[in-house]
């Protein structure tokens, strides 16, 4: 256990970096998800097509391959940003595709009468979506979106392969210095559970608060 106790500050820094990476990427992914989901239900055909292409591309590319393309490829076209910014960009674009699908499935669960009523009192498409449909859709997708945050936190480990020093790279680096690898692994596992378990509990809490009977 000394291997863990001697390196508590390294674990703390790794945990902080993973949290920072996950939270920033999650906020951007939510925004991307909102935009793409509204594209996909919009009356404007080219926007629907663009939304579909976005989702199909980013849901089907392995995250590692997307990271490699961005981190190694983009500097070749003159785009050089920090590794952390690359990681946030890649993670949020990838997760955004899944969030838009979650939101869209939520939109589909809202009773048709809701949108019909909104239209019949003269709301426009944008108003119908923003004021009536999305607020109800959001309540039904708390659980999937919570799981997506957890998946994002886990996926952020892939940034360790591309020069971001978060939890997984902390583990990787410490195993080079210390002989006791198993305690280090346990320490890393505990750190990940410190993120995923509260996130799961928070999801369940929010879901109970916003759930409503139809």
């Amino acid at each position: 256990m000394d291997a863990v106790l001697d390196n508590l500050d390294a674990f703390g820094a790794g945990l902080g970096e993973t949290l920072k990476l996950s939270l920033i990427s999650f906020i951007i992914a939510m925004l991307i998800g909102f935009v793409i989901a509204s594209f996909r239900v919009s009356p404007v055909a080219p926007l629907r097509a663009a939304g579909l292409v976005y989702v199909e591309v980013f849901r089907n590319i392995p995250l590692t391959a997307f990271f490699a393309l961005a981190v190694f490829g983009l500097p070749k076209v003159g785009l050089t940003i920090s590794f952390f910014t690359f990681a946030v960009t890649v993670l949020s674009m990838y997760t955004g595709a899944f969030i838009s699908e979650a939101l869209r499935s939520g939109i589909n669960t809202v009773a048709t009468g809701q949108a019909e009523a909104a239209r019949s009192i003269g709301l426009t498409f944008g108003q119908t979506l923003l004021v009536v449909v999305l607020p109800q859709a959001l309540r039904t997708v708390v659980q999937p979106i919570g799981s997506l945050f957890i998946a994002l936190a886990k996926n952020s480990s892939i940034a360790s392969l591309f020069a971001v020093v978060e939890l997984t790279s902390t583990f990787d680096q410490l195993t080079d210095q210390e002989s006791a690898t198993l305690p280090l692994l346990l320490g890393t596992i505990v750190c990940y559970l410190l993120i995923t378990l509260p996130a799961g509990a928070a999801t369940a809490f929010v879901e109970r608060r916003v759930a409503f009977k139809r």
Partner: protein, 288 residues
């Protein structure tokens, strides 16, 4: 047409707006594409020597072997994960707490961890304890633990989704727990779970590219090697790899959807409505 409900059959003004919106959208999309193309052009990424390398038969063969390594890893991990999943799902459903509690703990633990960490841990920890194995094995271990736990939850949800009357009826004609599971519950549950299982297997294929992390020579790792000898085609090689993965995965997803549709036609919409969705990995969230 689930989405059409958000807007009315358009009137003349609405149609004009949509036309205007479409034009603006086309202009915006074209603008993005042109800006990207100009940037690529400025950095000389359209020069033919950079692209002609992709037609090199040696490179094609080198990368094809990489893709084959992905397929191999996916196939082996799939079989093991299915076995792992079935075993622990039944364990978690067991009525004996000595079986149920550890099975639950194992599933919940591995599901909560990044796959990459499990793969790295296998590659780092196992050799320290005297298990010097090929990287292929480390990759399989990591994939199996994670995907197996996710599959276990899919199996469990499938079994629980079955109407209790089925097992009650089976007990009432005198079948044992084992017989009920084997003859009544599992055959029906598997049918319902099939679409979710297949989408999880598509995810599994995608995740074999994590072998990159431990030097397993799959497509992405081989692509990185290739950029050493074809340095001028670096961007092109990574683009090619991304396209290969996307095409293969879309193909596999289509296959999954086709199977789902076939199942609906065969067993009626009721069976499809009860299909288990979304235990974890979110390829499952897909609808149409």
């Amino acid at each position: 047409m689930t989405t059409a409900v958000l807007y009315d059959q358009l009137g003349p003004r609405g149609r004009r707006r949509v036309v205007l919106g479409s034009v603006l959208a086309y202009v915006a999309i074209a603008g993005v594409l042109v800006a990207a193309a100009l940037q690529l052009e400025e950095k000389g990424q359209f020069e033919s020597r950079r692209w002609s390398n992709l037609a090199d038969p040696e490179l094609a063969e080198f990368l094809a072997k990489g893709l084959w390594a992905n397929v191999k890893a996916a196939a082996v991990a799939m079989v093991l994960a299915l076995v792992f999943g079935a075993f622990f799902a039944l364990g978690r459903l067991s009525r004996a707490a000595v079986v149920r509690v550890p099975a639950t703990a194992v599933i919940e633990l591995f599901r909560a961890l990044p796959q990459l960490l499990l793969i790295l841990a296998a590659a780092i920890v196992l050799p320290r304890y005297g298990f010097e194995l090929p990287v292929f094995v480390y990759l399989i271990v990591g994939l199996t633990l994670y995907q197996g736990s996710v599959l276990a939850e899919i199996f469990r949800a499938g079994i629980l989704s079955l109407d209790r009357g089925q097992s009650e009826a089976s007990y009432s004609v005198g079948l044992s727990y084992g017989q009920t599971m084997r003859l009544v519950v599992i055959p029906q549950a598997v049918r319902r779970m099939l679409p979710s299982i297949i989408s999880q297997l598509v995810t599994l294929f995608k995740d074999t590219s994590l072998g990159f992390a431990i030097g397993y020579e799959e497509l992405l790792r081989r692509g990185k090697f290739a950029t050493v000898s074809f340095g001028e085609s670096l961007l092109q090689i990574y683009l090619l790899i991304a396209v290969i993965f996307i095409v293969v995965n879309i193909g596999l997803s289509r296959l999954a959807r086709w199977l789902e549709g076939r199942q609906q036609r065969k067993y009626g919409a009721a069976g499809a409505a009860a299909t288990v969705t979304g235990v974890e990995d979110l390829a499952v969230l897909d609808t149409k």
